[in-house]
């Protein structure tokens, strides 16, 4: 098996596993369909914006929950923003944790919020790690002379 075929198969298998594990959903596929010759780095650009924005929001949530008098409306606002951007790039598990977290904000449940913040951080760093690996595999395939397979909608 030549290098391109091997790398291609590796990428497809890895990509499929992310969908099967529910880490990514169809929305990520829609993002890939927005990429073309005129916007060749669209997915990477959006995902990098997502990483930057998410880390800022997670930090703000952490600081807000550390206050003497927690402003649950502010926390809920940050969680809502993180949910919005996560659902827009297809980060399904992060999106789901945000939905549950938002309920704790509405209930002004501090323990629930703190617990779910940890859960949210875990899921976020997991999807970040997975996406960075996906991009590395894509880059290896391109460097070997292959092309990134078109995403098939599920």
């Amino acid at each position: 098996m030549d290098a391109v075929t091997r790398l291609h198969r590796q990428l497809v298998d890895y990509s499929n596993s992310l969908f099967q594990e529910g880490i990514l959903d169809n929305q990520f596929g829609h993002l890939q369909q927005l990429q073309d010759e005129s916007n060749p780095d669209f997915v990477a650009e959006v995902v990098n914006l997502y990483f930057k924005d998410s880390e800022r929001l997670l930090n703000e949530i952490t600081v807000a929950l550390d206050q003497q008098n927690v402003d649950f409306t502010k926390v809920g606002g940050h969680v809502h923003q993180l949910k919005g951007s996560s659902s827009s790039i297809g980060a399904q598990r992060v999106n789901n944790v945000c939905t549950a977290f938002r309920s704790f904000c509405e209930e002004k449940n501090i323990e629930g919020c703190q617990q779910y913040l940890q859960h949210l951080k875990q899921e976020y760093y997991l999807v970040k790690n997975k996406l960075q690996t996906l991009f590395q595999l894509q880059q290896q395939l391109l460097s070997a002379g292959g092309s990134i397979p078109a995403y098939e909608m599920r």
Partner: protein
């Protein structure tokens, strides 16, 4: 008045709507789980939009349209702009409700001046140059100090005060899909409620349907006024 879920369920037959540039949309009855909910003002030709849009080249279906995108988050700005441009629309991005109001103030003022000049010159068709013009606003709901609903209320008030009869189509584009938020959006004067994230074809369908519905209502209102004046 909202079309409501009850009306959506009882709409029984598909309708074809002939739009400008020869575009056609076929509307079919949709279940209540559809994530596009139009604000219908008693217009018999308006129906909830099914995501099965037939007979339309969705690639550039928004060609020639100018959309004001109101969105505060960088990720969503990037995706929104890309989707709209891919669909052929011109896009102007503003980052909060205040900026949306400023942009619309310029447009409403320019339209107001043109209206006055036309009245003075008995209907002559003078064009105003270099005035901003938008065909539709795609409005995020949850934003900073002035959210989408508040911005919409201000825009509707400015339109009413200008007395040109214009009412720009506004779509609430939101990830907060609750009955309360939907009600607030319609009460503030928005025309359609669209769930975020939306796929291209749903976004296109919502934009085309909202513009068509508003323009149909506008021409019905003009005809009604002409009748009253007789």
């Amino acid at each position: 008045m909202s079309i409501g879920k009850e009306q959506a369920e009882t709409t029984s037959h598909p309708e074809k709507l002939e739009l400008e540039h020869g575009l056609q949309l076929e509307f079919k009855p949709v279940p209540v789980t559809n994530n596009i909910i139009p604000q219908a003002e008693g217009s018999s030709s308006s129906c909830p939009v099914n995501d099965d849009v037939t007979g339309v080249d969705e690639k550039k279906v928004l060609e020639g349209l100018s959309v004001l995108l109101v969105e505060d988050q960088a990720v969503l700005q990037r995706i929104g702009i890309r989707m709209l441009k891919k669909l052929g629309a011109g896009v102007t991005l503003v980052k909060d409700g205040e900026a949306a109001v400023e942009a619309m103030t310029l447009m409403i003022n320019a339209a107001g001046k043109n209206h006055q000049i036309q009245n003075l010159h008995h209907g002559s068709n003078l064009e105003t140059h270099n005035s901003p013009h938008y065909d539709l606003i795609l409005m995020d709901c949850q934003m900073g100090s002035m959210d989408g609903c508040k911005a919409t209320r201000v825009i509707r008030r400015l339109e009413a005060e200008a007395e040109t009869g214009q009412s720009i189509p506004i779509i609430a584009f939101t990830a907060l899909v609750t009955a309360d938020n939907e009600r607030e959006c319609f009460n503030s004067g928005m025309d359609t409620f669209l769930n975020k994230p939306a796929q291209e074809h749903l976004l296109a369908a919502a934009i085309v349907e909202t513009i068509a519905r508003k323009s149909h209502k506008f021409s019905c209102d003009e005809q009604a006024e002409a009748q009253d004046e007789k």
